[in-house]
């Protein structure tokens, strides 16, 4: 029960439509102070709209936004202790890096010595001190991103909003920046809200994730929770690969075309789906005692650290350590342990 959060952010019952299109439908969430919170979903799911509503760059139709106990729903962007790192970074092309970072302080008429002190501190923290006199177009993508971060953080916002900040970076740099971003947030202890469509990124950086689809939040949870205990088919498939079994719900298990599978609980539905991650399926040479499937290898993809198998019946995906060779057509036994099988909502 989080009834009173001092510097946290609450969004209550937000609706937003663009003409006929419903961008957000009755969205509520609580972000705790000092938390790294991620809005994860495919493009067009409304996550950026929600971020813009929090920033004050978009107006909700109904609902409230509450920051540190204060209702900021009707405040303009200029009056909110919230800053944004834009997807395009939106650096000011005609100002040098120092002035870019200083912008938020100068527009509030901070005295010169304080501006210098705070800007220099941030630039040092983000290793930008060499860049002070350069202009945005002279910087690499990664450097520009750090400038955008510094420019927002220098204002010490109650909440920092990040709108797909990694999307312009190449894959290798992205992985590195994700770790750095996570470390930075820990060090500052500030509240970050990140918007992304990249599930791997969400898993790496977040304390908590809200998975969104078609204007609704489908599931809240820690990375581990949303990955291992997806509530719906959408969440299961959006966060990595999942094998799905459809069938009839029985006492303590599910009856499928492949047979009966024991589950940890009895499903609440009569007909439905259970999911299992490829890495949770065990391969055995002898038939396992329960939850067994006999399968034939259709494709074996060597990935260095492991092997991805595509098997009939199914196709079923199994991720297994790389120490054993599989030939096409090999027959193997699969064990689908009950603790790996997740019952999905209807």
């Amino acid at each position: 029960m989080s009834s009173k959060i001092d510097k946290g952010l609450s969004v209550k019952d937000i609706d937003k439509s663009f003409g006929e299109v419903k961008a957000l439908v009755n969205v509520s969430l609580d972000v705790h102070e000092g938390e790294f919170f991620t809005l994860l979903g495919p493009s067009g799911c409304g996550k950026t709209t929600l971020l813009r509503i929090i920033a004050g760059l978009e107006l909700r139709d109904t609902g409230r936004v509450i920051l540190g106990g204060q209702d900021i729903t009707d405040l303009p962007a200029t009056k909110r202790q919230v800053n944004t790192v834009f997807q395009s970074y939106a650096l000011f092309p005609h100002l040098n890096i120092f002035e870019n970072v200083a912008f938020g302080l100068r527009s509030r008429k901070f005295p010169q010595n304080e501006v210098e002190g705070r800007v220099n501190r941030r630039m040092e923290m983000l290793e930008l001190q060499e860049m002070a006199d350069r202009y945005p177009h002279q910087l690499s993508g990664g450097q520009q991103q750090r400038v955008a971060l510094a420019r927002a953080l220098v204002n010490e916002p109650d909440v920092l909003l990040l709108d797909e900040p990694m999307s312009a970076l190449d894959a290798k740099l992205r992985a590195q920046v994700q770790v750095e971003l996570r470390r930075l947030q820990r060090k500052l202890g500030q509240t970050f809200i990140l918007v992304t469509h990249d599930q791997a990124e969400a898993l790496v950086v977040s304390d908590r994730i809200a998975v969104m689809d078609q204007g609704k939040i489908i599931q809240f949870g820690t990375p581990k929770e949303v990955y291992e205990q997806p509530k719906t088919l959408f969440v299961a498939e959006f966060l990595g690969a999942a094998n799905l079994l459809h069938g009839r719900g029985l006492d303590g298990g599910i009856q499928t075309e492949l047979g009966f599978f024991h589950l940890k609980q009895t499903p609440k539905w009569d007909n439905g789906t259970v999911a299992i991650r490829p890495e949770r399926i065990r391969i055995t040479d002898n038939p396992p005692e329960k939850n067994a499937v006999k399968a034939k290898v259709r494709e074996a993809i060597y990935r260095g650290t492991n092997i991805d198998l595509w098997l009939e019946p199914g196709p079923m995906r199994v991720r297994t350590p790389a120490h054993r060779n599989y030939e096409l057509g090999d027959e193997v036994w699969l064990e689908l342990p009950p603790e790996g099988l997740v019952i999905l909502d209807e």
């Binding site: 004050g56 760059l57 978009e58 107006l59 009707d74 405040l75 303009p76 962007a77």
Partner: protein
């Protein structure tokens, strides 16, 4: 209370924004209304008025001016005006065609220059584009002068009397028109050629032996956007051109532009001038319509 909205990050009301927007639009739009749209409408009205004995306007609404443009007069039907109109369209067409034919090699040539000299060549095309048209037109007087080879050759073949200049005549008009409008085609065409995907051209070269087919199948479709801009930029103003035919065509080779100018100048027959302008306007609209339809097709390709 008016509806709240956030616009470019600013929290404001719909009414507030509309008021400010109107304030911004106000002066400029008012100007364009008074000195562009309204005069245009007045021109339409005047084209249905008639000329008084001293060149003044008389407001008895009549379609006499249009009938006259179509060739009907007190003395029966003559093709004079129709010929001038058709000639203008023809001259505009030929000018555009020649400009297009010359622009292709030129823009390919410029594209093949190394970065450094490419802008120099491009500037060489831009300069005539911006040079005063009176100067560029009369400059041909020198090239076509009786002392120079062009006129001498023409005289040798008996096309013009000896020691006469090679103007005014239709040849001089075409020369002047093409040199006037060539950059109007080259510049937009160059923009398209610069973005040309050469892999498609090479693929076409592998597929078709004939150069004509390579051009038709691979180059033309890709350069169509720039080409159509160039064509419209040339064809429309060429139809209304008045300086070139006035200086290089004289009375022998009049175009619509001269006819309009005559009505507002020496003849002082504004209603007829207005009617001819409307005729030119209709031709312009037809060309633009044609262009718009084509450019829509291009977008789909």
């Amino acid at each position: 209370m008016s509806k709240l909205l956030v616009w470019y990050g600013e929290l404001t009301t719909q009414r507030n924004l509309a008021n400010r927007g109107l304030a911004f639009l106000g002066a400029g739009m008012l100007w364009l209304m008074i000195f562009l749209v309204l005069p245009g409408l007045v021109l339409i009205v005047v084209s249905f008025a008639s000329r008084g004995a001293y060149g003044q306007l008389e407001w008895d609404f009549t379609i006499e001016n249009y009938k006259r443009l179509a060739g009907f007069s007190l003395f029966g039907w003559t093709a004079d005006y129709i010929v001038i109109v058709l000639r203008s369209v023809w001259v505009a067409f030929v000018t555009t065609l020649i400009s297009v034919v010359l622009s292709y090699p030129l823009s390919f040539f410029i594209c093949a220059r190394p970065e450094r000299t490419r802008y120099l060549w491009l500037t060489l095309v831009i300069i005539p584009f911006w040079t005063n048209m009176v100067i560029r037109t009369y400059a041909w007087f020198l090239i076509l002068a009786p002392e120079l080879p062009l006129a001498k050759v023409a005289a040798f073949f008996g096309l013009i009397p000896p020691d006469a200049p090679l103007y005014p005549n239709s040849f001089a008009v075409y020369l002047g028109m093409v040199s006037m409008f060539l950059p109007f085609v080259t510049l937009p065409l160059y923009a398209s050629v610069e973005r040309l995907d050469w892999t498609l051209v090479e693929a076409a070269q592998d597929l078709y032996a004939s150069k004509v087919r390579v051009f038709m199948q691979a180059i033309l479709p890709q350069t169509l956007p720039g080409l159509s801009v160039g064509i419209i930029l040339t064809f429309v103003p060429a139809m209304g051109m008045f300086v070139v035919p006035d200086l290089l065509g004289g009375a022998k080779y009049m175009l619509v532009g001269n006819l309009i100018q005559q009505q507002f100048g020496a003849s002082r027959d504004w209603p007829f001038g207005a009617a001819i302008s409307m005729g030119l306007m209709v031709l312009t609209m037809i060309s633009l319509q044609f262009y718009r339809r084509r450019s829509k097709e291009i977008e789909f390709v």
